[in-house]
């Protein structure tokens, strides 16, 4: 019998706020331990949390991004458990009235479960909660740093619509790219800003019934999620195929060993005794507030990529590069305005401008040549006024001096020579100077022509029109 995997993901992202969720301590990674703490986030008795308005806005923004219903009445709840990283002995979260419900996320994926290279995963909900402190383990005791405690955390829960490790990986990559783009989170995995719980079960292919769910907790890299699923899915399938049953349990991914192992079984699962948070009032978004959140929504990466291809006819690969570098995409869109050859402009922006920026360690804001410069340069090449080799030189000058390409060509005398008479002169000189190569060509070695053409380019300081030089050389040699 054939089996299929059913995967759902709970993705936690730290929201990009300046201050924490309930207090004014800085939401900042990397500070010395317990220096961004106060009585509220240390969970000292008698303190009152107050909701960070920006965290609510970023949550609603995520809801809009995910085509979700934004709750007209959201509230907070306490999830009770004892663990040293949570000094209050409860975590404030949203249990039955989350800020957003429903929705879907579409991303590029080619494989089972996709259509025309796109996959759509339904979203169950996205709810707001607080991050907990960080434990540091020593030989005989543990230490706790509460700098992270109270950092706003958004949990995005997907429906079990994913069918493979590769699909889960693409979902996570695309989702976080969109969140970064919308300014919801920096999603920096090195800084632990994204963590993921994976729910996975297997069932006979085509069956509608879900198998017993295994949860793999606390994944902090997407490649880890992929590897854990590549281990866990065949493991479950083997058990079921051999007539065994998968118990519902929580497992841990052991990165070094490359295996998952039982953490705890559902029988002794925590009883969190959720109840409404008495210290926080419900949140009812008013129209004005919602409208100001809506005005922050920008074009999502996938929409941008599709539009770049459609609107400018550029190759998918180029659109992908631009989509992954938003300021560059914005620059391209401004540079291409009024240009005849948008593919050429994309090519120059990606292969020359971007490379040069990286090499010189400067940014687009440092570019002083006019925004239309690259389009004009492409036009100079396309019309044969400069060779593509000279164009590189012109671009150098544009980059260094901030002048327009026309001005550079003008005062450096870089115009391509397309005058037949002038080119013939260069060619004759080269043939005379390289009798051996000329003889080789006549004797049937076409490669010799390339050498001679190179000599013509050299002699003309790169200004000869290379196509014409080749044709003229051939005519003279055969003649």
């Amino acid at each position: 019998m054939e089996y299929e995997a059913v995967i759902g993901l709970e993705t936690h992202v730290q929201l990009k706020t300046r201050s924490k969720m309930w207090c004014g301590c800085a939401n900042q990674f990397g500070a010395p331990p317990n220096t961004h703490v106060c009585p509220v986030c240390l969970g000292l008795p008698g303190v009152l949390p107050v909701v960070n308005d920006e965290a609510l806005r970023l949550t609603a923004l995520t809801g809009l991004m995910l085509n979700s219903k934004i709750s007209a009445h959201a509230k907070f709840d306490r999830k009770n458990y004892f663990y040293p990283d949570s000094a209050k002995n409860y975590q404030i979260t949203q249990y039955d009235r989350p800020s957003t419900e429903g929705g879907w996320f579409e991303f590029e994926y080619d494989g089972a479960g996709s259509l025309d290279g796109l996959a759509r995963v339904k979203i169950t909900r996205a709810h707001l909660e607080e991050d907990v402190g960080k434990n540091v383990h020593f030989d005989r005791f543990s230490g706790v740093d509460f700098n992270r405690a109270g950092v706003p955390l958004l949990e995005i829960v997907s429906e079990p619509d994913l069918t493979s490790s590769a699909m889960a990986y693409e979902y996570l990559t695309s989702l976080t790219a969109a969140l970064v783009r919308e300014g919801v989170s920096d999603c920096d995995m090195e800084k632990g800003m994204v963590r993921c719980d994976v729910n996975v079960s297997v069932r006979p292919k085509g069956s509608q019934k879900l198998g017993a769910k295994v949860e793999i907790k606390n994944m902090n890299t997407f490649s880890g999620v992929r590897r854990a699923l590549d281990y866990e899915i065949p493991r479950q399938m083997a058990v079921v195929a051999a007539g065994g049953a998968i118990p519902q349990e929580t497992r841990r991914w052991d990165e070094l060993a490359g295996i998952t192992e039982t953490m705890r079984s559902k029988e002794d699962a925590h009883d969190y005794r959720y109840f409404p948070e008495p210290d926080l009032m419900p949140f009812v978004p008013v129209d004005e507030w919602m409208n100001s959140v809506r005005s922050r929504l920008v074009e999502m990466p996938l929409a941008l990529k599709k539009r770049l291809i459609r609107e400018y006819g550029i190759p998918a690969g180029d659109a992908e590069v631009l989509t992954n570098d938003w300021p560059l995409a914005d620059y391209f869109e401004r540079a291409v305005r009024g240009a005849k050859n948008s593919k050429g402009v994309a090519n120059w922006v990606i292969n020359n401008l971007r490379a040069r920026l990286v090499q010189r360690g400067c940014g687009l804001e440092d570019m002083r040549f006019p925004i239309s410069g690259i389009g004009e340069l492409v036009e100079l090449v396309d019309s044969g006024r400069v060779s593509s080799k000279i164009a590189q030189e012109v671009f150098e000058q544009m980059f260094e001096r901030g002048e327009s390409p026309a001005a550079i060509v003008e005062h450096k005398g870089l115009s391509q020579v397309s005058d037949v008479g002038a080119i013939e002169e260069f060619c004759r000189e080269v043939i005379v100077g390289n009798p051996k190569s000329a003889e080789d060509f006549r004797a049937g070695k076409p490669a010799a022509l390339n050498f001679l053409k190179g000599q013509v380019m050299k002699l003309s300081k790169g200004k000869a029109n290379p196509g014409m030089a080749g044709a003229v050389l051939e005519r003279l040699l055969r003649g």
């Binding site: 331990p33 220096t35 009770n80």
Partner: protein
């Protein structure tokens, strides 16, 4: 009496009770719960459920960073600390 299980609740709350205490507290808490049972007879149709007695909504603060405690202040009441961290018993999952 309800299905109230004092042993289970004590375990969740990390409170160690002797069998005598379990017996005594169990029956006391059971009595309290039976008072609360009476609330079930009240007619609440048409009453919106709420966790608050006060009709207050949308209490928020602007996203502004304020001064935190110093590390010394934060750790002042800790029974034990090292390297700026609160020291707790070894955590084993």
């Amino acid at each position: 009496m309800s299905d109230f299980n004092v042993h289970y609740v004590a375990k969740l709350a990390r409170i160690a009770l002797s069998p005598d205490e379990e017996e005594r507290l169990g029956s006391q808490l059971g009595n309290i719960l039976s008072y609360i049972e009476k609330l079930k007879s009240a007619d609440v149709s048409g009453v919106e459920p709420t966790a608050h007695a006060f009709p207050l909504l949308n209490v928020t603060r602007p996203d502004v960073v304020e001064t935190s405690l110093t590390n010394e202040e934060a750790l002042r009441n800790a029974p034990s600390h090292t390297g700026g961290l609160f020291v707790v018993p070894n955590i084993l999952e």
